[in-house]
């Protein structure tokens, strides 16, 4: 029954290319997180604002991001918007898709975190003469980031995993894309994807452990 012959050397010879792919994967994930956090903040502020249209836009973004498949969002960012004559490269499309998704989930986390911060905190800031923006920036945001740090770490892991969906929009420089290309050349499917799986596993572990380290240094209170 076990007559399959593993050809690990065939696959391992391609490890350098796969590691290059891992770098691109990380690049997309990190960028999508950074931009995603900024957008999530903006969405959060929009939700807090008194303007109905702003609230509606934020809610629409957040609900679509959370209630449709990420694959669809990425596919849409490439083939969907192209119907309007807007063209993004595979890298950009993937980045947009994941960022859109990240921002939606993070904004929801931020909302939960905000609820956990007593509104007397903002009042205390205001009564020291800070503007509402200052008290948001110096008092609310730092506490919000702490509360949502763990969800943010999880989202970062998901962002890394989501990069694997880039192949559907022509991406072939990320880890999954590289692996698939190599598979087309050699057909060593099991070996190649097993190696890719290990690399993904290591990346996510580094992220979670790194996040724990950062948290312990950052949040000493």
């Amino acid at each position: 029954m076990f007559d399959y012959t593993f050809q690990w050397n065939q696959a391992l010879a391609r490890l350098p290319r796969m590691l290059d792919g891992a770098v691109v994967t990380l690049e997309v994930a990190v960028l999508s997180m950074l931009i995603g956090i900024v957008f999530a903040m903006i969405l959060t502020l929009m939700r807090l604002s008194d303007s109905r249209p702003l609230k509606a836009i934020a809610a629409t973004w957040i609900e679509i991001a959370r209630n449709t498949p990420a694959l669809l969002q990425i596919y849409m960012a490439h083939f969907g918007v192209a119907s309007f004559g807007i063209h993004f490269s595979p890298f950009t499309s993937l980045l947009i898709g994941i960022t859109f998704n990240n921002a939606g989930y993070l904004a929801e986390n931020f909302r939960g975190a905000l609820k956990a911060i007593p509104d007397t905190q903002a009042r205390a800031g205001r009564s020291l003469g800070m503007s509402s923006l200052q008290s948001f920036r110096y008092i609310i945001v730092p506490q919000m980031l702490r509360i949502s740090f763990l969800p943010m770490t999880n989202q970062m892991v998901w962002a890394v995993l989501m990069t694997s969906l880039g192949v559907t929009v022509g991406m072939n420089t990320d880890l999954y894309g590289v692996t698939q290309d190599l598979n087309a050349l050699t057909f060593r499917t099991f070996e190649l994807f097993a190696i890719a799986a290990v690399i993904f596993y290591i990346i996510t572990k580094i992220i979670t452990l790194g996040a724990r380290l950062i948290a312990s240094r950052l949040f000493r209170y």
Binding site: M1, Y4, I64, N67, P69, L72, S83, F190, F193, F200
Partner: protein, 217 residues
């Protein structure tokens, strides 16, 4: 606004895809939840050190892209073990384990949220471990876990869009097939997205509502 050459037959085709999405999701969520409860209870019962191998095994499902899990499982079961399994079976199997990995975490969190003193009270009334689990822990843990579990089930539904790699034609794949023929990507993608949204959004809201209600008492 849309002038479409979509026929009734095409809608039926999409509906079939949607049906597949729902079936794959339902099977995976049911099996995954049963396994997840089992794994979660085992983890709580054995403690962190004894259950480390299980924790590691489950962690893999949360640390490797689902796409790769599907490709690998397919290659391993078929190419290495030479098992003749349908793509549908492989899809359900992988998604079930994937679900169980997340579900185990949720279950563990739920059980941990039941105060040890409450469980002591139950045991000191002469209840067995099983009775304690059945009548005290599970009802209480469910309240903590249900909102997250709803989120998980919806997540699995969305992630099931990836089972196309093992030749299961679910909703998104059906949509792509139609795009191939009809060349109306935006319109078809919107229909597809709307389907997911219509199922996911109300349930997600319901989960949020439960969370709010139960956290108040």
């Amino acid at each position: 606004m849309f002038e479409t050459s979509l026929t009734a037959a095409d809608f039926l085709f999409l509906a079939k895809g949607a049906g597949m999405t729902i079936i794959v999701t339902a099977i995976s969520v049911v099996i995954g939840t049963i396994l997840g409860i089992l794994f979660g209870v085992i983890r709580v019962q054995l403690g962190a050190i004894l259950s480390a191998p299980l924790t590691f095994f489950l962690d893999i499902f949360r640390s490797v892209p689902l796409l790769i899990q599907l490709v690998l499982a397919n290659a391993f079961l078929g190419m290495v073990l030479k098992l003749q399994l349908s793509g549908f079976f492989v899809a359900c199997m992988v998604l079930s384990l994937y679900t169980s990995a997340y579900c185990a975490e949720i279950v563990r969190g739920g059980i941990d949220a039941v105060p040890a003193t409450t469980r002591r009270a139950a045991r000191s009334l002469g209840m067995t471990w099983v009775q304690d689990m059945r009548h005290i822990v599970m009802p209480l843990a469910t309240r903590v876990a249900l909102p997250s579990w709803i989120g998980l089930a919806l997540g699995v539904m969305k992630d099931s869009a990836l089972v196309y790699v093992v030749q299961v034609t679910e909703l998104l794949k059906s949509t792509q097939i139609l795009i191939t023929r009809l060349q109306e990507p935006l319109f078809l993608l919107l229909i597809c997205g709307a389907f997911y949204f219509i199922i996911s959004f109300p349930l997600a809201r319901f989960g949020g509502y439960l969370e709010k209600r139960w956290s108040n008492d």
